[in-house]
């Protein structure tokens, strides 16, 4: 925790949404990759068939639903935890960037296809 900057609001709520967006990006990337790993996970991620979330979307429905849930839940939890607090924003931002970077990387086909079983 650092001292609040004079005359401005504490940065906790902004830190919360930055980290939440990083978590959501990573969750998306992880499920994109896990979808390639096994048929069971592929079946689980078909939220359109399993839970009626859209029609004909396939496993993409589960990947994006889980990433969005991760975004909303982690934002809410971190917001409650960090509300009114002044954090080391540089460190928070670097963590957020790493999470987003990992998420980006895991959505890149040459990377996530590395985890697909050999045909």
């Amino acid at each position: 925790m650092t001292a609040p900057q004079t005359g401005t609001k504490p940065n906790g709520p902004v830190a919360a949404v930055f980290v939440a967006s990083g978590i959501a990006s990573l969750v998306l990337g992880v499920f994109v990759t896990l979808n390639e790993v096994s048929e069971e996970i592929n079946g689980f991620l078909r939220f359109d068939a399993n839970y009626g979330l859209g029609s004909g979307v396939g496993p993409l429905s589960g990947k994006v639903a889980l990433a969005t849930i991760a975004f909303v839940v982690s934002w809410f939890v971190l917001h409650v935890l960090w509300r009114g607090k002044e954090l080391n924003f540089g460190a928070v931002f670097i963590v957020s960037l790493i999470l987003v970077g990992l998420g980006f990387a895991l959505t890149f086909p040459p990377i996530f296809l590395l985890f697909a079983p050999a045909e």
Binding site: Q5, G7, T8, K9, N11, P13, V14, V17, F18, A20, S21, A24, S25, L28, G29, V32, G54, S55, G56, V57, G58, L60, S61, K63, V64, A67, F71, F89, G90, F93, S96, L97, V100, G103, F104, T107, F108, P109, P110
Partner: protein
Amino acid sequence: MEVTERELYTILHGLVLGTLFLLAFGGGMAGLWSLRSQLVTEEGVKERTPRLLIGTAVMAIVAWLTVISGTFIAYPWYRATPPEGTNLEDPAALADFPRYLLLAQEKTAGWHEFGMEWKEHVAWIAPFLATAVAFAVAYYGVQLIRRGDIRRAVMIFFVLAFAAAGVAGLFGAFITKAAPVA
């Protein structure tokens, strides 16, 4: 001159929302870049903050609308399965099944295997980042000029959101050209 219902939808998804996204990014980025005490007076900050908030909020809303409509309306059209017995190596029989049309030929298969596989996923990172940006701008308002650390982070996330949407938009345009959803 005719536009099918699906073509109209893809125009809305790609062209209309895409243009709004570009406009909101351009306006928002210009506002964030110049939000420095040596460049703007106190009055100037008050004058431009609502515009900055509108630009970043519009970008976030448009990003959500684009990925939701793309995923749950256009994508099922793209990945529709041909009827049993269709020759999956005959492009002429696959005109209404863009995914299978692309995969039917070696010269176009990469548009699906790389382009669509990346586009459909990376696009979803844009609304998360754009929401974070819009929230930060709404939360700090006129105080953002005194928070250089937050302003720089917001600008980086703003650019990353644009990059994610840009990759998706670019591949969307190429894929639609190679195998239109019509």
